[in-house]
């Protein structure tokens, strides 16, 4: 699966990091980092992350 975060929208709320820690994390500078092609097995986690993002900045493409 393919994940895209609109970094213009993202405001570092970190909700995605709680929901899908295998895919989303904060780097040392406190900026969001993420795996753009996570394993299909993580789909439920990633969907949860997309749901809980306050800015609705996470898109799942395919």
């Amino acid at each position: 699966m393919k994940v895209v975060v609109d970094m213009n929208k993202c405001q570092d709320h970190g909700q995605c990091v709680f929901a899908a820690p295998d895919v989303f994390s904060f780097d040392d500078a406190g900026r969001l980092a993420y795996v753009s092609e996570p394993d299909e097995a993580l789909r439920a986690e990633v969907e949860e992350a997309a749901d809980v993002c306050p800015l609705q900045a996470i898109r799942i493409e395919a």
Binding site: D12, H13, E47
Partner: protein
């Protein structure tokens, strides 16, 4: 005849905002294969409300950016938009509908039968009942509200009075200052902004930050009347002062949209009361989600409360959908009791308030956990010596520090366990 559970039948979702959408998605995720009809009074598909008092008001977010993405799993959901639910019989299992549009109402009295019902009708702003003109007085709940208010805030030299220093009032005041309003004054009968949810120490710091950024406050006094003939020109306060005002924003709390449930022997005294599985009135085929649901939280003291936080529609929908679907397909065991960790944020000026847990339960014992009060700070809220909530105030560093305490909150034993 063998009835295939979950394949036939209809679930009606009343309310087409975030709670209604998340309910539809979660019903599918819980295995419901029957039909789903979502009925909503607003003309729009579900959209995100938090930007209404921030980015939308500031002109930084067009409507297209607010609409929630619709997943494939809800592609076959029937949306009855611009339609109000006017009544319901929970035993006979039907709701009564009425079309609403700019011209008025039509088709009143159409009945729609259901097997399961999700109550997701949310809240509407409470209005002030004071004498005086009504033109120039605004609330912020819907897109139409935000667009109407924005037009008025852009008038040159505009003087704004915000009544109510809750989070929506504080956000609107901050946005109005950023838009260049000549004067922005927040009025509240309490001595500090957001005092009830945040407690004194944090509220005092919030007040200082707002004042520093140009917001004025008239605290410890309420509004008694609006002055002006056709349109508001001022606000009369209980202490006798009159504030000149071109625009008034009323952010004095909200009222639950539950009138349509009247006549069903339910506790509708403050939203709709549910049990720990989010069932309404003890009925296994009716659940409630979102702002309107008053649910007990066994993580804390089990006292049923409504929680008007953005995370709640999603959390409640996930749980309520499992409760409802397991009943409708004839499973006996429902999910474990609902015990969410509430999270909340509010963006004001250049800082963010970020909260985890239930600080409101610990305002009697607030300690600085991290940072210092006048900068980036994390406050811990305690009840019976236990951490029940954290609130971060400041920039990214504060929010980041608060995250560390979230895990600690999740580890705390339930308050009821003492």
């Amino acid at each position: 005849m063998i009835k295939l559970p979950g394949l036939t039948g209809r679930i009606v979702v009343a309310g087409a905002s975030m709670g209604g959408l998340r309910a539809a998605e979660q019903l599918r995720a819980a295995g419901w294969l029957g039909s789903i009809t979502v009925v909503g009074e607003e003309p729009h598909l579900p959209y995100n409300r938090p930007p209404l008092s921030k980015e939308v008001l500031a002109g930084r977010a067009p409507f297209e950016s607010l609409a929630f993405a619709l997943r494939d799993s809800v592609a076959d959901v029937e949306w009855r938009l611009g339609t109000r639910v006017t009544g319901a019989d929970l035993d006979d299992r039907w709701v009564e509908l009425e079309r609403v549009d700019a011209e008025g109402t039509e088709g009143a009295g159409e009945r729609l039968a259901f097997d399961g019902l999700v109550v997701a009708t949310g809240m509407r702003p409470r209005r002030l009942r004071c004498p005086g003109p009504t033109v120039g007085r605004h609330t912020v709940r819907t897109l139409a509200d935000a667009e109407g208010l924005r037009t008025e805030l852009l008038r040159p030299g505009v003087r704004v009075v915000v009544v109510g220093a809750g989070f929506i009032g504080c956000e609107v005041a901050a946005t109005a200052v950023a838009l260049g309003a000549a004067e922005v004054t927040v009025v509240d009968p309490e001595p500090l902004p957001m005092l009830r949810p945040l407690g004194e120490v944090t509220a005092r710091e919030l007040l200082r930050r707002h004042r520093e950024r140009g917001v004025r406050f008239a605290l410890g006094t309420g509004v008694t009347a609006f002055t002006g003939d056709e349109r508001v020109t001022g606000v009369l306060l209980g202490d006798g002062t009159e504030l000149p005002a071109d625009v008034v924003v009323e952010s004095v709390g909200s009222v639950a949209n539950t009138e349509w449930l009247a006549g069903n022997v339910l506790d509708l005294s403050d939203g709709v009361l549910t049990d720990e599985q989010l069932r309404v009135g003890g009925l296994p085929h009716v659940v409630a989600v979102g702002d309107v649901a008053r649910f007990p939280n066994p993580r804390y003291d089990n006292v049923p409360r409504r929680v008007e936080h953005w995370c709640i529609p999603g959390d409640t929908a996930k749980h309520a959908a499992r409760t409802l679907v397991s009943h409708l397909v004839g499973e006996t065991a429902g999910p474990a009791p609902f015990a969410p960790l509430p999270t909340f944020w509010s963006d004001q000026h250049d800082f963010r308030l970020q909260s985890f847990g239930a600080p409101v339960l610990g305002t009697g014992d607030v300690r600085v956990l991290d940072g210092d009060t006048s900068g980036d700070v994390v406050m811990g809220y305690h009840r019976d010596g236990r951490l029940v909530g954290v609130v971060a105030l400041g920039g990214r560093a504060a929010a980041g520090a608060a995250v560390r305490y979230r895990a600690e909150l999740l580890r705390q034993p339930a308050l009821t366990a003492s």
